[in-house]
């Protein structure tokens, strides 16, 4: 069972529709108790970092998320919230990963970075199994995380930035797998399989 975090900052419908399409079992909740019983967590995110963090705090979710031991997948803003800090605001985030999420430089690229771009893998992880080493995914964001030790795939638009990250049980994708056609659905399926292997 996957728990999708509902904190009024995510596009719950899109991710729910995608999970339904791959036949995944999931619940949508904004409370710690039901989420803590899940095999894995998806932290979606649409919107701005400051409001999203306030919303997580209000629901008492920040500590739960930053100490979760099963697979957790952050999508778009949900991935950015895993870092120490975001320039958006600026905002102190969950701090699962070191580093600062930065804003794109408007002189080298349009903001937001919106559309399909190539995600190129630099190392292999189960989450990306069955997906081409260079594959298109759909992005819509104005802030990005720099490529560092946790990056497993990168994308270039003005700068090279982290497209997929993995650190222990934490995963993040800057793009929207729920909006990226079959490649995105494959990634979500891989995440479901990963969660099942952690079944409580």
């Amino acid at each position: 069972m996957i728990g999708v975090v509902d904190y009024e900052a995510g596009n719950i419908s899109s991710i729910s529709n995608a999970l339904s399409r791959i036949g995944a079992e999931f619940i949508v909740s904004g409370e710690v108790a039901p989420l803590s019983r899940c095999d894995g967590i998806i932290l979606p995110g649409v919107g701005a970092a400051p409001g999203a963090m306030v919303s997580l705090q209000k629901r008492g979710l920040t500590e739960f998320l930053s100490t979760f031991r099963n697979p957790l997948l952050g999508i778009c803003l949900g991935m950015q919230l895993l870092y120490q800090e975001s320039e958006e605001g600026p905002t102190t985030c969950l701090g699962v990963l070191p580093g600062v999420v930065r804003k794109f430089n408007g002189s080298t690229s349009k903001i937001p970075h919106m559309g399909w771009n190539v995600v190129e893998r630099t190392s292999e992880i189960a989450l990306m199994q069955g997906i081409d080493r260079r594959e298109y995914f759909y992005f819509a964001h104005s802030y990005y995380a720099e490529v560092d030790a946790s990056s497993v795939a990168a994308t270039k638009e003005g700068v090279l930035f982290a497209a997929v990250i993995a650190k222990e049980n934490y995963f993040g994708v800057q793009f929207h797998p729920e909006k990226s056609g079959n490649a995105g659905l494959t990634l979500l399926h891989n995440f479901e399989v990963l969660c099942k292997s952690f079944r409580r």
Binding site: N11, I12, S13, S14, N17, A18, S20, R21, V46, G47, A48, G51, L77, G106, S109, K110, I111, P112, H113, M114, G115, W116, N117, V118, Y136, Y138, F139, A140, H141, S142, K156, E157, H176, E178, K179, S180, G181, N182, G184, L185
Partner: protein, 251 residues
């Protein structure tokens, strides 16, 4: 490198997809859910779904159709028509839209963009501008093109971006459904005026028109309806053509 996007547009009236010329003489095209699923499967990069009578009829948007369309596609969905409040925006996103396209409401209150951006982010907000050429200038029209405003399209584009539009959907009413090509001059001027992605709309009749909008017009995405609805240019064929012409495209 970011690829250019090909976006079929579904204009919906009374639950059916329709298509006209210069926003008039509408003919029935088909069922929105069936068409959306077909375009998603055929390689469309995104879909735009417009409720073309909501603003005129002053009613709320077509939530149920959005819900049904969102369920059957795995690509981004932009929804427009009849949006008047932040609550409308949130409700459409809850129904499965990824972005909302705002048009008529902004002429009365462009600050809705700022309030929307604070809540859902600029990337989910498309500023739609319907333009008619009048005496050599680009005049903004609202209410499905029926109402003239004193706004100049270039100035208006700047205003919408300033308030928080993350993308602009530029429709030339003169060219709509006419298959004579996009308003390239307008697109080119806009591209050097604002720094958000531009979607060109109105006038696509051939593959060359689309190439022109992307090259000379510098559009980031092209929206088209007739050529896809009436099976004149299959999406795959169009994308292979653009790719062969050196345009970055998702195949």
């Amino acid at each position: 490198m970011l690829t250019r996007r090909i976006i079929p547009c579904l204009d919906v009236l009374n639950g059916r997809v329709v298509k006209g010329k210069k926003f008039q003489n509408l003919v029935d095209v088909g069922d929105p859910v069936e068409l959306a699923a077909r375009y998603s499967d055929e390689g469309a990069d995104e879909l735009v779904l417009l409720d073309i009578s909501a603003s005129l009829e002053e009613r709320r948007p077509f939530f149920e159709i959005v819900r049904q369309v969102a369920k059957c596609i795995a690509i981004p969905l932009t929804v427009g028509g009849g949006i008047r409040t932040l609550e409308d925006i949130l409700d459409l996103l809850r129904c499965g839209a990824d972005k909302v396209s705002l048009n008529t409401v902004l002429a009365h209150d462009p600050t809705l963009l700022a309030r929307g951006a604070a809540r859902v982010g600029s990337q989910a907000l498309v500023g739609a501008i319907d333009v008619l050429r009048i005496n050599g200038s680009w005049s903004v029209h609202i209410k499905s093109g029926t109402q003239y405003t004193r706004l100049d399209a270039l100035e208006w584009a700047k205003t919408l971006v300033k308030h928080g539009a993350g993308e602009l959907l530029i429709t030339s009413i003169d060219m709509d459904g006419m298959k004579v090509g996009y308003d390239i001059e307008l697109l080119d001027r806009l591209a050097s005026t604002v720094n958000v992605p531009l979607i060109a709309s109105g006038g696509a009749g051939t593959k060359q028109h689309i190439l022109e909008a992307l090259n000379t017009g510098k559009a980031d995405a092209v929206l088209a309806a007739s050529i896809f609805h009436f099976h004149e240019i299959p999406i795959k064929e169009l994308k292979h053509y653009l790719h062969a012409q050196g345009i970055p495209i998702r195949l």
